[in-house]
């Protein structure tokens, strides 16, 4: 067992080593927009993005003030006028984009899990069904998000037609693409986990004449949980990667759009801003994985199992 201090020290050393390498190698890479941004420029740009976010907040306040003034004027001339407060129309800042991406990935991932876990349970419990559907799963699993996206976009455009939409089409497009791509690991792992339930336990269940639901709740689920979570962790990683790609390609709001817009801008600061986004995407991906790990540790009954 490592000492507590080294447990902290080693990762920090690793990160420091990486930052130093990044700093020196970035200077060597010359692009037509100047050399690749190092850690310093990236950090500077991060600070600017924070300031930008704060400034946008002030603008937002001014926007609402103006609107109230205008509405008051309207009421003065026509007391029966219908007054509605309209949402702020300014740009989405870097941090707004992060929130958008997080919400989208959460919705897409939850939808995927809601489909994949029950489906996986059914397929795992019924060998014939599994045999029947396995080829389709294997066929759909490797399809790239970039291939799904045009299909999803067309289908959503054609079928989601309302006068007053609850959510934006672009949100649906991103979310469904995430769902389609992140479904498979959870589905397959759940099915496999269910199939691999200890034969002794299955026999016990038979002897006790447990009902179907009791059988699933007390025997199947607990022993399949580690596999289900393995699937979920793979899925959330894929969901996050797919989302950024979908946002870049379809220009749907989120971090991916931020990266693409900056690439298009091609200003002196663009590369550093993209670098900030890259670090942030990685960091959020890491946090999502840790979050799943935490939940897994909570619900897993086998506390001895080594999880990493």
């Amino acid at each position: 067992m490592l000492k507590r201090s080294t447990e902290w020290l080693l990762p920090i050393l690793g990160i420091l080593f990486f930052v130093v390498i990044w700093h020196f190698s970035a200077l060597q890479v010359k692009t037509s927009l100047g050399s690749l941004p190092g850690p310093v420029q990236t950090a500077e740009q991060f600070v600017l993005l924070v300031e930008d976010h704060l400034q946008e907040g002030e603008k937002e306040q001014a926007f609402y003030d103006r609107q109230e003034e205008r509405n008051a004027k309207k009421l003065a001339t026509d007391p029966d006028a219908k007054i509605k407060m309209r949402a702020y129309t300014g740009k989405a800042t870097f941090f707004d984009q992060i929130v958008t991406s997080l919400v989208t990935v959460a919705c897409g991932f939850i939808l995927a899990s809601v489909i994949a876990i029950p489906l996986g349970l059914v397929l795992g419990l019924n060998h014939k069904l599994y045999m029947a559907f396995n080829p389709i799963i294997q066929l759909l699993k490797p399809v790239s998000p970039l291939a799904w996206l045009p299909l999803v976009t067309m289908v959503v455009s054609a079928s989601y037609v309302t006068k007053d939409p609850l959510v934006a089409k672009s949100f649906l497009n991103s979310m469904l693409t995430v769902t389609l791509c992140s479904l498979w690991p959870t589905l397959i792992n759940t099915a496999v986990g269910v199939t691999n339930v200890d034969k002794d336990l299955v026999n016990v269940s038979r002897v006790l004449r447990l009902s179907y639901w009791q059988h699933i709740r007390t025997i199947v689920l607990p022993s399949a949980i580690p596999m289900i979570f393995t699937g979920l962790r793979l899925s959330i990683g894929i969901a996050w990667m797919v989302l950024i790609a979908a946002e870049m390609l379809a220009q749907n709001p989120g971090l991916g759009k931020f990266v693409w817009d900056e690439f298009q801008n091609g200003s002196a600061a663009s590369l550093s801003r993209i670098m900030v986004a890259v670090v942030m995407i990685g960091f959020i991906g890491l946090m999502l994985d840790r979050l799943m790990l935490m939940i897994q540790k909570r619900v897993s009954w086998d506390k001895q199992q080594v999880l990493r």
């Binding site: 037509s32 309209r86 740009k91 037609v161 379809a250 817009d261 298009q264 200003s267 002196a268």
Partner: protein, 463 residues
Amino acid sequence: MAIKGLMQLIKKSYGVSLSVLLFGALTVNASPLVLGEPEKEELKLGFIKLTDMAPLAIAYEKGYFEDEGLYVSLEAQANWKVLLDRVIDGELDGAHMLAGQPLGATIGIGTKAPIITAFSMDLNGNAITVSNEVWQQIKPQLPVDENGKVIHPIKAEALKPVLEHYKDTGKPFQMGMVFPVSTHNYELRYWLAAAGINPGFYAPEKGDNSGQREAEILLNVTPPPQMPATMEAGTIQGYSVGEPWNQQAVAKKIGVPIIADNDIWKNNPEKVFGVTESWAKENPNTHIRLVKALIRAAAWLDHNGNENRAEASKILARSEYVGADEKVIANSMTGSFEYEAGDIRPAPDFNVFFRYNATYPYYSDAVWSLTQMRRWGQIPQAKPDSWYIDIAKQVYRPDIYRLAVNALISDGLMKQSDFSDVDNETGFRPPHNHFIDNITYDGRSPNAYLEQFSIGLKGDQQI
């Protein structure tokens, strides 16, 4: 009688509030007019990262949209195709569009959906840039003035030796343009064909929409902001694009603008503000209010000899709009243009937003775009002159523009003298020959215009 007929027509499509407005407009300055409330207050408008989206940014930043009771969000789009598709399926209420886009969409080149425009966003604003390598090959042959500076405009003849060289080595010579029905495509083709270089034909009936049949130069679609990166990567040897992407090539030292579109056709129409026909029918007041805000923005941009352009460049340089460096944007916006690094020349009309009636949607501008679609085979069959004019009248809507102008005047926001006799405008610019090949264009006789070209389809010709 004519006025009554017009009123009935407008009443039919726009409801009562507008006939009141029109009536008021006819009895000029009599009493203040009230334009109805907007049918839709929250709007999402699309744009491409180009300096000529400026009227949208200015109308937003100066509060002109809000003055009309409109809460507009502006959203950059990835490319012209995505932008058009999103307007058609309703994700965007309207957008900054290429002048040819509403026409192309209405007659079904690529996507088919009726789109209209009541506001022309600007004149000029494009240039053709070649890579440093190509420039090095053509520069020694170019005539120079007494100061040793290259004489502009440069004709496409200069490219011929380079083309020969590429042909000898068996490499294709490729250039980028932004969209099949873009002004950039037509300007580039016009410039090449004027020098006897065939840029190739479209053959939609044979399923060939590459536009490269019989081509001596291969033209490819590339989204505007990606032009410099694509040329840097060596995929294309030059491109035709709007600002700031030509000045960006100079700033990045990867290419040299060779001719501005103003030299190919003086004061050519460039971008328009497009919405679908059905959206315009459902939201007539909103539409007029949008056009009002945009006209004010355009007037602000050209006010007093471009005095506001420095401020405009600063606004456009923000990452949510064009996002390129302010210096690069300011180059063309403030009335100068940098060709070879250091060769800065005055270009006061590089971007025109308001003067020369830039905001008026001229039928003759629409007809010109249509003639080029016919010339290059995008319209595969011969069409009578009346067809060109009918399509122009379906897509370009000076009637709506006029309502917006009248409302601005009666609001006291602008003066009658700001607009040159809009009420008597026929929609056709007088025949003129402000082209690099001195050919005369009369918007009323498109087929006769096409006859004058040595390269390009005319009469019953088909590919």
